[in-house]
Each structure stands twice: as C-alpha cells, then as structure tokens.
C-alpha cells in the first residue's frame, strides 16, 4: 500500500493545475484574481510566482470576454484552464459556452475541437444570498457538446483536471464552495489522474440507493450513517460525471435495492434529479418498489438569513426521511 497524503480539496485543485502546467506548456490559467490575489478561493496561490504572468493571467471583470477568449485559445491549439469564479458569474458567459464551446465541433462538421477546461465554484450554504448561491450544474449538463463533472472528494479534485485537459471536448468542472476546506487522502506518488466517465459507489447497501454529487455527498453519507442505525443500509452513489450520466451504474444499483432517492442542490423543477428520475423510470421501472424520491432545494431565491437558507437546502434529515418514505417506514 503506497503511502497517502492528507491535503485539502483546495490543495488538490492547486496541485492538479500546477502538475498540468509543468507537464504541458499549452496549459495556462486565466480568470479573475487568479494571479496576484491567488484566486478567490486561494486555489492558485503561488502559481503566479512559479509560472509568471504569461501563464497565470489575471483578467478584468469580463466573464464573457475572457471565457470566450479561453475558448478561442483552445480552438487555437492551447489547453486553457478558465476559472469562472463562481457559477453565478457564469451566466454572463453562458452564451460563449453554449453557442461557441459546445457547438463548434458539430457545427464545423468535426473540423474544430475546443479542448478547454472551465472550472467554477458552485452551490450555497455560506449565507451569500440569492445572487451568489446558485447551483446550476443542470443548465450545463443539459447541453450536448459539453462534458460536465463534479469532483466531490479530494481524490477526484486532484485527479479529474488532467483527464479533462486531455479530452478534446470542453469540460466544465464544478467545485462546490463548501468543499475547499475539506481534507482528504491522495496517493503519495502519482499518477493521480482518475476517470471522468463513471459514477462511484461511496457506500454499499441493499435497502435503498441514494444518488448525489458534489457538495451534497457529505450530507448524504451522514444521512446513510443515521439510517444504518435504524438498520437501513443504503448504496450511496456519487455521480462524479453529470454529462454524460453513468446511467448503467445508476440502474444497476436501483435494480439491486428497488428504491431510489436523488439528492440535488438544484431547484426541483427541471433539475438534474428530474432527469435521473426519468432515466430510472425508463430503465428500471420493473424493479421499482416505491416512487423515486427527490431531495432538492426549495423553489425560492436563496435567502440570506442562516435558518432560512438551511430550510431551503437539502438537509441530512430530509434525505433520511425520503429514504424512509421509499421504505414506507
């Protein structure tokens, strides 16, 4: 058993970027305050000193501008990592991502490739109120032409970037803001790259399948712990990839447990949870012993006050209650 190191999610992101830039000179980082400031979440602290202003590019507050430029640079043969500080600001560059990055390959008849990686922080839970607390992964997971991943563990945060950079197509990486301080183990020595195609079972169980991703994994595991005491054992499935969904593994788990609960910080209507629930109905209908349950964010702009924000977001107890409901307990 080779040794492991305990680092934070933030360290993992930084190491991944650093390694990528050391291994491939086409890779560079661009985004607001990624240089001098060291990154809004301090993920690029120290990179400016090591790689210089050419490859660690602070940008003006021009999301559409610099994201479009990153897509253009990828088109031009570079492998840019564009950091859109949070998904909230990505609404300003949605056009560049959807109409350019996602479309160019197909629209050019396969001539053009856009190997750009766009990293965004996402999610609520830190009382930043409505405009800074969005969870819109499903908007991007809806768009053909994009790959969308959500590293929920330190190991994935360390390993997904390099794989994403090798991908000839645009990859959006969602990093939930509450995860940056989380600690986790990564192998002492490389290679650290992990796949971005498969979901992972983070906990084994037979009575129900709880499907989640990104920032909701921890609260889902806590719910599974609580349920274990009521001897309800749950498969906890970490999607890891939001487009394409690892439908095969989702259906395999539901076929085993006959019950499914989906935890998704997006708003319920039009959510990723809705899409997964439909796929379960289509692929595992005859194995269902109860309707699929969805635990999503209440359909309201995220309120600032702590107790209101908590009431709006999926909770450990809410997840456990949904599982009990599928078991009619």
């Amino acid at each position: 058993m080779s040794g492991v190191r305990r680092i934070t999610y933030r360290d993992a992101v930084r190491e991944a970027m650093r390694e990528a830039m050391q291994k491939d000179e086409r890779v560079f980082l661009m985004g607001e305050d990624v240089g001098r400031y060291g990154g809004a979440y301090a993920c690029s602290k120290g990179l400016l000193e090591e790689f210089g202003e050419e490859r660690i590019r602070d940008t003006p507050l021009s999301e559409s501008g610099f994201t479009g430029a990153g897509i253009g640079a990828a088109l031009g043969g570079m492998r840019p990592i564009v950091e859109v500080m949070t998904v909230n600001f990505s609404l300003l560059c949605l056009d560049q991502i959807v109409n350019n990055a996602a479309t160019l390959r197909h629209m050019s008849g396969g001539q053009f490739s856009v190997p750009v990686v766009i990293r965004m922080a996402t999610g609520a839970g830190r009382q930043l109120a409505a405009q800074h607390s969005h969870s819109l992964e499903n908007w991007y997971a809806h768009v053909p032409g994009l790959r969308v991943v959500a590293p929920a563990t330190v190991e994935d945060a360390r390993g997904m970037l390099w794989t994403a950079l090798q991908d000839p197509d645009p990859v959006i990486i969602f990093e939930h803001a509450v995860l940056y301080n989380e600690e986790g183990d990564v192998a002492a020595e490389g290679p650290w790259n992990v796949d971005i195609d498969r979901a992972a079972i983070r906990r084994e169980g037979d009575d129900a399948t709880i499907i989640t991703y990104g920032g909701s994994l921890q609260k889902t595991l806590k719910a599974a712990d609580a349920l274990a005491e009521e001897n309800i054992s749950c498969d906890v499935l970490d999607l890891r990839t939001l487009r394409p969904l690892d439908t095969e593994r989702i259906l395999a788990s539901v076929a085993k447990t006959h019950r499914a609960v989906i935890v998704d910080e997006g708003w319920r209507t039009g959510s990723l949870a809705g899409e997964i629930s439909a796929q379960i109905m289509e692929g595992a209908f005859f194995d269902l012993d109860a309707p699929v349950e969805r635990v999503c964010t209440a359909e309201t702009p995220i309120p600032y006050a702590r107790h209101m924000e908590l009431a709006a977001l999926p909770s450990v107890e809410g997840i456990a209650a949904a599982v009990r409901k599928t078991l009619r307990r």
Partner: protein, 332 residues
C-alpha cells in the same frame, strides 16, 4: 480642498449634516466589522470606509424622488439615502425587520420608500437596470434622475458598454457614478484596464463626463449638482468618475496581498473626514465640540441600531416561499 464650491450653500447646518452622515457611515461600518468577527453578521461584508464622501456628496444633489441603483458595497449609500440605521443593521443580522426582511443581507439592501433599488452583487449587473428605470421615467414624462453607482471594475464588463451606449443613444436621465477606488477586488486598475482614465470611456458614446476628487465631499456635491442639472435639462446621461480609495480590504476574506501598507497610509492622510473636519473648523462652520456632539449622536444611533437588530425577530421558516411570486390576492 477649495475655498468655495459652486452651487453648494456653505452654511453651518449643511456642514453639520455632511459631517454627521460621513461619521455615521464610518462608525456604523466599524461596528459591522466587529459584529462580523462575533459571527452576528455572516456571508460577505464589503466596507466603504474611506469612500464615505462619494455617497454623501452625491445624495445631497439628488431629490427624494430620484432612483438609486447601488452595488454590494452599499451601506454608505443606503444610510446617506436615508434608510434607517436600525433597518440596515437588522438586515445585516438577517432579521425579518431588516430592510429586505432579512433575505438580502449586506449586499442587497432594498427600500421602495427611498426608491433605493438595492445593491447588485454581479459586477455591472445594475447598469442595464438603471438605464431601464430612466427609460420608464422618460417614457412616462417623469422628471426623475436615476443615479447608478459602480466601481471601476465594472468598466471591464460587457454590460458597461451596452448600458452606456443605450443611455446615450436614447438620451436617458441616468447619472453614472464610477467610484474608482483603484482595485477591482484583488486586481489593480492598471492591470485590468488598457486606459485607466475611466471617464474617457464615456467619450466613445458622446456622453459628457468629468473627474472629481472622491475624498472631498464638497467637490463631489458640487460636481453632482452640475451633472444633475444638465440631466434634468434633458441633455441626456452624465458620467462622473470619483477618484477615491478604500481603507479596508475588499471584503472580510481578503489578505490584501495586492497592495502595500504604505499606499493605504498615504491615502488615509487624505481621508474624507481628515480633510473635511479641519476645513469646517477653519471656516468656522463647525467647532470641535460640534464634532464631539456628532460623535455622541452617532454612537447612540449605532448602539440603538445594534439593539434593534439583536431584538428583532427572525423570519418564520413557513415564509420560505413567500414572495417568490406575487401572491394571487395581490394581483390587481
């Protein structure tokens, strides 16, 4: 500071009003920084300390009926506009008695009574909105100015170009006030703008513009009065660039790696109060004891605001979905 300022009545009473407002903002925000440390205020907190002269000076030149669109660094603007300190503090606590029922927090203070359309947290997000408010007023023949505050960082956003162009194209009554404090979060102006003379952007839309010392409240009031009279005369939008400086970090999470301590010290020497207080005393408009009196009144106001916020009730969880959409009975 100059000896005289056109259009500004240099009475003792007016000087006291300006001093009172600037000191209220300063002490209020110092209290906020303290309360943030005690976890009474959470989320983001962007302090305005050092820039008080801008909000106070501009508000003096606006009518109660004019529209205000601000940014997430908005406590000064809200207080200078007249939102009660107690309601602003309650909002910072997230209480239901807050100006936005505790839903907006520090970045989203709202008050329909004051036509204060709130802080906007997406940089330059408010600019197109302000253009729209002015468009509505023009179409309805209202004699109203819409004043839109933003930082120099917004100049790099697409919406900045689009909003200024529309306002100029349709000659709309918008006062664009760019509070240029030299830093967009962690990026110094010269590292984010090819041309750091922000007000010159306005020329490309044939929009009249001028620069003013954002540390001199009277200069700000003077420049704003001139701009607003032109707007009200139907000459179209006006662009004011207030050169100023924030003495505190961008927000509470900021280690300020991007600027030197000395630079801050330098600007503090030219702080709005550091200049205004001796000037008013020398002009015999105010005395040292007046300032002590003001400090006493402000201390009381801030203490009352904190007490009010502490005692105010939380919003009941049952109201979580209230006002997401307009309730049926409210629909006319």
């Amino acid at each position: 500071m100059k000896d005289t300022y056109d259009g500004v009545d240099l009475t003792a009473e007016h000087a006291r009003e300006l001093a009172h407002q600037m000191i209220l903002i300063r002490r209020f925000e110092e209290k906020c920084a303290e309360l943030y440390g005690a976890e009474k205020i959470r989320g983001f907190l962007h302090l305005y300390i050092g820039e008080e002269a801008n909000a106070v000076g501009v508000m003096q030149a606006l009518a109660p009926d004019d529209n205000i669109v601000a940014t997430y660094r908005e406590h000064g603007h809200a207080l200078a506009r007249g939102l009660p300190a107690s309601e602003v503090m309650a909002e910072m606590y997230g209480k239901a008695a807050g100006s936005s029922r505790g839903r907006g927090g520090s970045m989203h203070l709202c008050s329909a009574d004051h036509r204060f359309y709130g802080g906007f947290a997406i940089v330059a997000g408010g600019l197109p909105l302000a253009v729209g408010l002015a468009l509505a007023d023009k179409m309805r023949g209202e004699d109203r100015v819409t004043c839109c505050f933003f930082g120099e960082g917004a100049a790099a956003e697409g919406e900045f170009h689009e909003a200024l162009n529309l306002a100029a194209l349709w000659k709309l009554p918008v006062l664009f006030v760019c509070e240029n404090n030299g830093y967009a979060m962690g990026t110094a102006l010269e590292r984010s703008e090819s041309d750091t003379d922000i007000h010159r952007h306005a020329e490309s839309y044939a929009m009249e513009a001028s620069v003013v010392d954002g540390m001199d409240v009277l200069a700000v009031e003077e420049a704003t009065r001139r701009a607003v009279s032109k707007i009200r005369a139907g000459e179209g939008p006006y662009f004011l660039e207030n050169r100023t400086y924030r003495f505190r970090a961008h927000s509470m999470f900021d280690a300020e790696l991007y600027r030197a301590r000395e630079e801050v010290k330098e600007w503090e020497k030219r702080g709005p109060l550091v200049q205004f207080k001796p000037w008013t005393i020398e002009k015999a408009l105010l005395s040292a004891s007046d300032y002590e009196e003001i400090e006493g009144e402000v201390a009381g106001a801030v203490a009352d605001a904190v007490a009010f916020a502490e005692a105010a009730p939380w919003e009941p969880v049952e109201d979580l979905l209230k006002d997401v959409m307009t309730p049926a009975e409210a629909k006319s």
